[in-house]
């Protein structure tokens, strides 16, 4: 399997080896016995069966021995797992936020990323948060997984990476249409490299350099935040309305139970992102899109608006 990419790997893989080892032994052994019997006691070779009612000694033996073995398995499983349940007091605290269908990671200094960046040889404590439905954060190379439950307070997991590199991170709890596209990466860096990355506060909010391509930047935001899981650029309807050719149009929405006509303008886009259930677009349902307040800045929304405008051409 994997080489030890986190401190848990050894304990977990020991349990694997112990349990699989015993299992293979029994599987192969019993199968061999069965095949031997099929051959040896075939009715052609052995026309008359010998009647045997049972044997209490054997029953006791094959109750006790498996019992001891499974207790051994239980023990290995327990020791490999208990460290996962005991997060250290100190470590880098990161909030992992899941929504249909992407992850975002928020650092103490306010930085938000869609990949998980962590320093090597440092305890990482992930506070798990889900906006809409159940998700589950799984990093196979580290042998960790924990469900992300909406509304569950103080839900966390921890790990300590021991090798630099990039590893897959999956959502393993079925969460609807794009569940199989809800994955990201963990990037493990040398600590000094990580802290330099962390201290780069210019990344806290988008920088819009002079002469930058605003449309392209907006498009990148829309894609990195996972909007395209529900909104298309080409008019097809996925879960939410398409972005195509909408900007500047007058559309029908339901606001607090009242139908009304409004203009699809920058203000409307902002409200749709921060308070999606306030205006419900005709033909769609409330409760599908969840607020991005705190995850998308106003400056980013301006860029998204530039991108939406470009879809009118």
């Amino acid at each position: 399997m994997y080489s030890g990419a986190s401190t848990f790997v050894e304990g977990v893989d020991n349990a694997f080896v112990f349990i699989l080892g015993i299992s293979f032994f029994f599987l192969i052994g019993i199968t061999a016995v069965i095949i031997l019997f099929l051959y040896r006691y075939n009715k052609k070779k052995h026309p008359k069966a010998t009647q045997i009612e049972g044997n209490n000694t054997l029953e006791v033996i094959w109750t006790i021995i498996p019992l001891i073995l499974v207790m051994g398995m239980f023990y290995y499983g327990y020791v490999g797992w208990i460290p996962m349940k005991r997060p250290p007091d100190q470590g880098v605290e990161i909030t992992a936020n899941a929504r249909m269908w992407n992850f975002s990671f928020r650092y103490d200094n306010g930085r938000i990323t869609d990949k998980l960046y962590v320093p090597k040889d440092t305890a990482i404590i992930l506070h798990l948060n889900a906006v809409d439905v159940l998700h589950s954060l799984y990093i196979p190379a580290f042998r960790v997984k924990e469900d992300m439950v909406p509304g569950l307070p103080d839900n966390k997991m921890w790990f300590e990476a021991t090798k630099t590199g990039t590893y897959s991170l999956f959502c393993t709890e079925y969460c609807g249409l794009q569940h199989s596209y809800m994955y990201s990466e963990v990037v493990v860096m040398e600590p000094d490299e990580f802290w330099a990355w962390y201290a780069d506060t210019t990344a806290l909010d988008v920088e819009v350099p002079e002469g930058a391509n605003l449309v392209l930047m907006g498009r990148q935001i829309v894609e990195s935040k996972g909007c395209i899981a529900c909104h298309s650029y080409d008019g097809t309807i996925v879960i939410g309305p398409s972005f195509k050719g909408k900007f500047g149009e007058t559309i029908t929405v339901t606001t607090e139970g009242q139908e009304r006509q409004i203009v699809y303008d920058a203000e409307y886009v902002k409200r749709s992102i921060y308070d999606p259930d306030y205006d419900i677009t005709q033909g769609f349902r409330a409760g599908q899109m969840f607020s991005y307040e705190g995850e998308i800045s106003e400056r980013e929304i301006d860029l998204i608006v530039e991108f939406l405008k470009s879809l009118n051409e």
Binding site: Y41, A49, G54, D147, V149, G176, L177
Partner: protein
């Protein structure tokens, strides 16, 4: 004995109603059993085709033959059909109904009308589930587990599916009550508990689980309905509910339900192995006791489905420990079955092929269950393809192989005709190879980290998926051979009237082939043990 008053076979009997009405209004336990069998065969074919379509979708990354919404509703429907319509009622409803009364020397079950009602509830439940597919806002896409809060947020038609499962639950409870009463009150004179054959014993354990566990899922499903229609917050955090509570309630039923599925399968295997070994069962009492132990301990292990849900560490400790304990009675059974073959005179016929291959796949299913029962390894494997492979080995490998064994074992008795053994064996061989090719790679994929319920996957998972998808095609080919052979033989196979074609010792082999309407002209008196080959 050609006397003019020769009692008439249950197949030829003409009662008040004719044609199909003579079946769907018949309270004869044998006809009710066949009603279930036909319903299940039809739906099993649908479920299997859905499975095949999913595997074809997964043969390569990206869009192959369907989009994600279709895929998600397919795995939901596949799960609902296979779990609620096939394996939960499964062996008890078909072979329990048909053979339980005969094997204990009774003329029918205790409440024949309730028995027919069970089938009706089952059929109505199926119809309700089907409406979810064709009406409203599209087929449900929640998975058969209906996990909250997704099942409250999806726009798809979840309610009818849930309500259908609820109705089928009543069918299950009624069958359970019927069997418990039948076994308690209607055993032939002289058939003490420990002279009862093993298949009825496993039906007895199963029936208690059906009675005691099914109401929990009934209530849970009702709560979902109340929550979705009235907006009362039980499970949806948006309404102040607790999604983990839902998981507890769901698995409090659905874990014991796994034993509803597998115990009768163990019963079937305990019948087939002695008959084709021409030898009394080894360790009869050990098998009986382990059956009851599984039925009992099985109630207390549901938490092993939730090791990563956010439960307290202490609860996880206990659930893992109990899960390992429940493995022991299954191991005891395997040892006793293999010992029954020792020094036997093995007659390698189709039912025995199924029984022996059952042993193999059941061992794999059980041993991989240990991997999942252990805390450390479970965290890595939970909700990956490993779990999918594991439960297909148990439910499809275990229960499915036993079901196939049961069909081929009791077929001549039920229909008074024999199937073509060569085709049956060929079908078995192809099916077995396909089965292994389909599910073994999934263990590997799971260990590598591929999550389950995955419409699409990263390129690193491609190799295993190709193998698995090709296996599915082979498996379906085997299945078709088996089914065509059986269906053809039920209508045109060589007639037999021999009472005991396999040389069995239990009571169903002492009655006419096919059984008469009342099974026994005279209720037998039991003096010996059920598997006496002396």
């Amino acid at each position: 004995m050609e006397s003019p008053t020769k009692p008439i076979s249950y197949l030829d009997y003409k009662g008040e109603y004719k044609g199909i009405l003579g079946w769907i209004f018949s309270t004869d336990h044998k006809r009710v059993g066949l009603l279930y069998l036909y319903t299940m065969l039809a739906f099993f074919s649908v479920g299997a085709i859905l499975g095949l379509l999913m595997k074809i979708q997964l043969i390569a990354p990206g869009y192959t033959i369907m989009g994600p919404q279709t895929y998600n509703s397919l795995f939901t429907l596949h799960g609902i059909i296979m779990i609620f319509i096939i394996v939960v009622p499964g062996l008890p409803a078909v072979f329990g109904n048909f053979f339980l009364p005969i094997m204990i020397g009774a003329k029918d079950v205790a409440f024949p009308r309730i028995n027919l009602l069970s089938w009706w509830l089952y059929a109505v439940g199926i119809l309700i589930v089907l409406t979810s597919q064709f009406m409203g806002d599209g087929p449900p896409d929640t998975g058969w587990t209906f996990y909250a809060p997704y099942s409250f947020q999806t726009a798809t038609n979840v309610l009818p599916a849930v309500f259908g499962a609820f109705v089928m639950g009543f069918s299950s409870i009624l069958t359970g009550i019927n069997f418990v009463v039948t076994i308690h009150r209607m055993r032939a004179p002289g058939m003490t508990w420990f002279k009862m054959p093993l298949f009825p014993w496993t039906l007895y354990g199963t029936a208690w689980i059906q009675i005691l566990a099914t109401p929990v899922i009934g209530i849970t499903l009702l709560l979902i309905i109340a929550e979705r229609t009235l907006g009362i917050g039980f499970f949806d955090p948006a309404l102040g509910g607790d999604p983990i509570l839902y998981q507890h309630l769901f698995w409090i039923y659905s874990h014991p339900a796994v034993y509803i599925m597998i115990l009768p399968a163990m019963g079937v295997i305990s019948e087939i192995i002695p008959v084709f070994s021409k030898k009394t069962i080894f360790g009869y009492k050990a098998i009986v006791l382990s059956t009851m132990a599984i039925a009992f301990v099985g109630y207390f292990v549901w938490g092993h489905h939730m090791f990563t849900s956010g439960m307290s560490g202490r609860a996880l400790f206990a659930f893992s420990f109990l899960t390992f304990l429940v493995a022991i009675p299954s191991a005891i059974k395997v040892f006793n079955w293999v010992s029954t073959m020792h020094k036997g005179s093995l007659d390698l016929q189709t039912p025995f092929y199924w029984a022996v291959s059952f042993l193999f796949v059941f061992m794999i299913g059980g041993l991989t269950g240990l991997v999942l029962g252990s805390l450390a390894t479970n965290v890595h494997l939970h909700d990956t393809h490993f779990v999918v492979a594991h439960f297909h080995f148990i439910v499809f490998g275990g229960t499915g192989f036993a079901f196939m064994g049961a069909v081929h074992y009791w077929f001549p008795k039920m229909f008074g005709r024999m199937y073509d053994a060569n085709w049956a064996n060929l079908g078995w061989g192809i099916f077995f190879i396909g089965f292994l090719a389909l599910y073994l790679p999934m263990f590997y994929l799971g260990i590598m980290g591929m999550p389950r319920r995955y419409y699409d996957y990263l390129p690193e998972f491609h190799g295993g998926n190709i193998f698995s998808s090709l296996g599915a095609i082979v498996l379906i080919a085997g299945l078709m051979i088996i089914f065509i052979n059986l269906v053809r033989s039920a209508r045109h196979g060589t007639k037999i009237s021999e009472k005991n074609p396999w040389g069995g010792t239990t009571l169903e082999w002492q009655v006419d082939t096919p059984p008469t309407l009342e099974n026994f002209e005279e209720i037998p008196t039991i003096t010996g043990k059920p598997y006496d080959y002396n």
